[in-house]
C-alpha cells in the first residue's frame, strides 16, 4: 500500500495523482493522506513521489479534470480515493466511469450535485448586514455555515452582484473579503473576521421581517415543502429563521382560515365608494392619490 501524502488542496492532489498514474499504481494500492484538509498540517513532510518512470503522460478528457476539481469540494471522510479511481478508470479507456449511470460515476455526480446545490445555497441564503457608517473595512458582513468547501469557488457571484460595495463572508472554516478591487481568501478564517460577521450592529432588519410575515399565506401552510427547499440547518443564521415556527403555530391555531396576515387583519379596513358617473371616491376621506 502506497501512502500518498499531499497538502490537501486539489492542485496538490492532481500533481500527486498524475505521478501515481504514470507509475501505474492502481486505486487499491494507494492510501490518500490529504492532511491539509483541516489546515495547519502543511509542514508535515510529504513522502516524495517518484516522477521519473518512462510511462507516457495519461490522456484524459479536459472536462474530467473540471468535474474532479468540483467534486473535491465535497466534504467526506475520504474524498480523494473515489476521484483517483475514476481518473484511473478513464485513463485506462473506461469512460463510463464519468457517467451518472456508472457505479463510481453515480457517486461522482452525487457529489457534484451536492456541491452545486451548496454553492446555490450560499448565493441564496447568505444574509449581509450593513455596518453603520462611517466604517472601516467591509460595508456588508455575513456569517454562513456551508456543508461543503464552496466558499472560495462560489463567491465571485457577490462581486458581480454588489458592485463597489465591500463585503465579507466568514464561515467556521474559511473567509472571503472583497475590498472593492480584489478578493482575499483566508483558510482558516481569521478571528477578527469571524467576530465581525457574527456580531453585526444591525438594527435594520424589521422591514425584511415584516415583509416575510406578510408575504406568507397561512391558508396554504405546507411545512414539508418549506423544509425541502429551505433545509432546517440554515434557519439559525437567517434573520427570518425565528419567525418560521412562530408563523406556523399561528397558522395552525386558526390564522389558516383565510390568506390574510395577522398584522393586517388587526387593522381597520376601508372600502372604496364609487359613484356611477363621477370619479371614484374613497371612504374616510382618504384620497388614493394623496395618501397619508
Amino acid at each position: 500500500m502506497h501512502s500518498a501524502h499531499f497538502d490537501g488542496s486539489f492542485a496538490g492532489w492532481r500533481d500527486t495523482a498524475r505521478a501515481l498514474l504514470r507509475q501505474g499504481l492502481a486505486p487499491h494500492q494507494v492510501n490518500w493522506r490529504g492532511d491539509g484538509d483541516r489546515g495547519g498540517l502543511f509542514d508535515q513532510a510529504p513522502s516524495p513521489v517518484n516522477t521519473s518512470p518512462a510511462a507516457e503522460a495519461p490522456r484524459i478528457p479536459r472536462q474530467l479534470l473540471a468535474l474532479l476539481q468540483s467534486a473535491a469540494c465535497f466534504r467526506v471522510e475520504d474524498r480523494w480515493s473515489l476521484l483517483y479511481r475514476i481518473l484511473w478508470r478513464v485513463a485506462q479507456g473506461d469512460r463510463a466511469a464519468m457517467l451518472p449511470g456508472d457505479i463510481d460515476g453515480s457517486q461522482l455526480h452525487k457529489r457534484l450535485k451536492a456541491v452545486r446545490r451548496e454553492a446555490h445555497h450560499l448565493h441564496a441564503f447568505v444574509r449581509f448586514h450593513p455596518r453603520p457608517e462611517p466604517v472601516e473595512g467591509p460595508h456588508l458582513v455575513a456569517w454562513h455555515e456551508p456543508a461543503h468547501d464552496i466558499l472560495h469557488s462560489a463567491s465571485e457571484h457577490f462581486v458581480e452582484r454588489l458592485g463597489r460595495s465591500t463585503w465579507l463572508i466568514a464561515t467556521p472554516d474559511d473567509g472571503i473579503y472583497w475590498d472593492g478591487q480584489h478578493l482575499h481568501y483566508q483558510r482558516p478564517c481569521p478571528d477578527g473576521w469571524q467576530r465581525l460577521a457574527q456580531t453585526p450592529e444591525d438594527d435594520g432588519q424589521a422591514l425584511w421581517l415584516a415583509y416575510y410575515g406578510s408575504t406568507f399565506n397561512p391558508a396554504r401552510l405546507n411545512r414539508s415543502a418549506l423544509e425541502n427547499s429551505l433545509p432546517v440547518r440554515f434557519w439559525k443564521n437567517l434573520p427570518e429563521g425565528p419567525l418560521i415556527p412562530q408563523l406556523m403555530s399561528q397558522a395552525r391555531a386558526g390564522a389558516q382560515r383565510d390568506g390574510q396576515a395577522a398584522a393586517v387583519a388587526q387593522q381597520a379596513g376601508k372600502s372604496i365608494r364609487r359613484s356611477a358617473t363621477k370619479a371614484p371616491q374613497v371612504s374616510e376621506n382618504v384620497d388614493p392619490d394623496h395618501p397619508h
Binding site: F128, A210, N222, L226, S229, G254, Q256, Q260, S271, P291
Partner: protein
C-alpha cells in the same frame, strides 16, 4: 403611515399572485461599476415561507386602492381591507435595502387601478425607471401590465423590465364577466399581443433596444369558478401558442377575508393546483398536448400524476425498451424525467442499459417498472390491467388540512 406599516399591508395585498420567477434575464454584472445588481439567467430563491413558496423578489403592490370590484380579489373596492400607497422612492429604498442584504434578487411590482389604467401604468414605470436610471440597478424587475394601458406605455415598460405579465385571471370569458365585471378578455389579450410584438421586434433586430428579455407570463385562478381542468389546460395551451408565454401560473384560490358569496370559502385546492403544474410542465418540457392529458371534459386525477395517467390510458406504447427507444419516448415513461432520459441515452452509447442503472439514476422505480424493458428485465405486470396497476400506484390520500 410608517413605511413598515405600508409594507405589511401592500405585501399582504400582493401575495395572491403566484409568480416569483427571477430567471431568464440576460447576464448583467456590476463588477467594477457604480450601482448594484446582477442577473445570470438562473433564478435564485432567497427564502421560503411556511407555505413552501419561494421568496425571490420583493413582491408588492404600489397601492391597494382599487376602482375595480373583482370578486376573487382581496383588494376589490368593496373589500374592507386596510389601504396604503407607497411613493416610488419608498419602493426604491426597500428594493435596494433588501437587495444589499441578499434577501431578494429584484422587484415584482403590481398595483390596484387608481384614476385610470394609463395613470397606474405610468406610476409603475416611474419606479422601474428610477431604479434603472438613477440607481443603476441591474437586478431583476418584473412589472405587472395593466390591460387597458396605452401600448406606448407597455413599450416603455418593456425597456426597463425583465419580465412583463398580464393576468388572464379566469380561464373562461363567462367567468370573467361574472366575477370581474370591469375586466375584458379582449383588452387582456390585446396587452399580451403588445408584449409579444415588442419581444418579436426586439429579437428581430440586433441593435434594437431590449424589451422584456425574460418574456411574459400570466396567472389563472383555480377554483374560484367551476371551470374544469380540461378547459384550463386548453386555455393555457392556446396562450403558449398565441403569445409565446414563458409561463402560465396556476393559483389555487385562497379564501379571502369578508368573502363575497360569489366565490367559495374553502381551503385552497392545493393538490389540484399541483397536478395542473405537472400537466403544464409536461406540455412545455415533454411535448405533450393538452388533448393527450385530458381527452374529454373533466379534471386531472388527484391520486396519480398526469404522466402516469397518460401511460395507463395508452398501454399500447408500452413497455418501452430503454436500449432502443427514442429519447422522447423514454421521457414519456412514468418515473423517468427528461434528464434521466438523456443520461440513459449517453450511457447506452457505452454499454447496454441494465435495471440497476435506473436505481443509480434515482428514477422512480415503482412507477417505471411496469412500463420498461432493459437488458436483464421484463415487466411481469406488462399484461396487468390498467385499473389494477392504478390501484397499486396511486398515492395514499394526504390528510386534509384541519379547519
Amino acid at each position: 403611515m410608517q413605511l413598515i406599516e405600508k409594507l405589511t399591508v401592500l405585501a399582504d395585498a400582493a401575495k395572491y399572485d403566484a409568480s416569483c420567477a427571477s430567471s431568464g434575464a440576460p447576464t448583467r454584472s456590476s463588477k467594477g461599476k457604480s450601482g448594484i445588481g446582477s442577473t445570470s439567467g438562473m433564478g435564485i430563491c432567497h427564502s421560503f415561507t411556511p407555505d413552501g413558496r419561494c421568496v425571490a423578489l420583493l413582491k408588492i403592490l404600489l397601492t391597494n386602492f382599487c376602482l375595480y370590484d373583482c370578486q376573487y380579489c382581496v383588494n376589490r373596492r368593496s373589500s374592507d381591507v386596510p389601504r396604503a400607497r407607497f411613493t416610488p422612492e419608498e419602493v426604491v429604498t426597500l428594493t435596494i435595502d433588501f437587495y444589499k442584504r441578499n434577501c431578494i434578487s429584484g422587484l415584482f411590482l403590481s398595483s390596484g387601478i387608481i384614476r385610470s389604467a394609463d395613470y397606474t401604468m405610468e406610476q409603475l414605470i416611474r419606479v422601474a425607471k428610477l431604479l434603472r436610471e438613477e440607481h443603476e440597478f441591474r437586478g431583476y424587475i418584473h412589472l405587472k401590465t395593466i390591460p387597458d394601458a396605452d401600448p406606448l406605455l407597455i413599450a416603455e415598460a418593456g425597456r426597463y423590465a425583465d419580465r412583463l405579465s398580464v393576468n388572464i385571471e379566469l380561464p373562461t370569458e363567462a367567468s370573467l364577466i361574472r366575477l370581474a365585471p370591469e375586466k375584458q378578455v379582449r383588452t387582456i389579450k390585446q396587452a399580451m399581443q403588445s408584449i409579444h410584438l415588442g419581444e418579436s421586434e426586439a429579437r428581430a433586430e440586433v441593435r434594437a433596444p431590449r424589451f422584456a428579455p425574460a418574456g411574459q407570463s400570466t396567472q389563472m385562478i383555480i377554483g374560484a369558478d367551476a371551470t374544469d381542468d380540461s378547459t384550463i389546460l386548453h386555455t393555457a395551451a392556446s396562450l403558449y401558442d398565441n403569445y409565446r408565454l414563458r409561463r402560465v401560473y396556476y393559483s389555487a384560490f385562497s379564501p379571502i377575508p369578508q368573502s363575497p358569496n360569489t366565490v367559495p370559502f374553502e381551503a385552497p385546492p392545493l393538490l389540484r393546483e399541483h397536478r395542473l403544474y405537472q400537466a403544464d410542465f409536461l406540455m412545455r418540457g415533454y411535448g405533450f398536448e393538452a388533448s393527450e392529458l385530458l381527452t374529454g371534459p373533466g379534471n386531472l386525477a388527484l391520486d396519480i400524476d398526469p404522466k402516469l395517467a397518460w401511460a395507463l390510458n395508452n398501454r399500447e406504447h408500452f413497455p418501452v425498451d430503454l436500449n432502443r427507444a427514442e429519447p422522447a419516448m423514454i421521457a414519456r415513461v412514468p418515473g423517468i424525467g427528461v434528464l434521466s432520459a438523456k443520461r440513459l441515452v449517453a450511457l447506452r452509447r457505452q454499454r447496454r442499459i441494465r435495471f440497476e442503472d435506473l436505481t443509480r439514476l434515482r428514477c422512480a422505480l415503482e412507477k417505471a417498472k411496469p412500463f420498461i424493458v432493459t437488458q436483464d428485465y421484463r415487466p411481469l405486470q406488462a399484461s396487468r390491467e390498467s385499473l389494477l396497476l392504478r390501484q397499486q400506484l396511486s398515492e395514499t390520500p394526504a390528510q386534509m388540512a384541519l379547519w
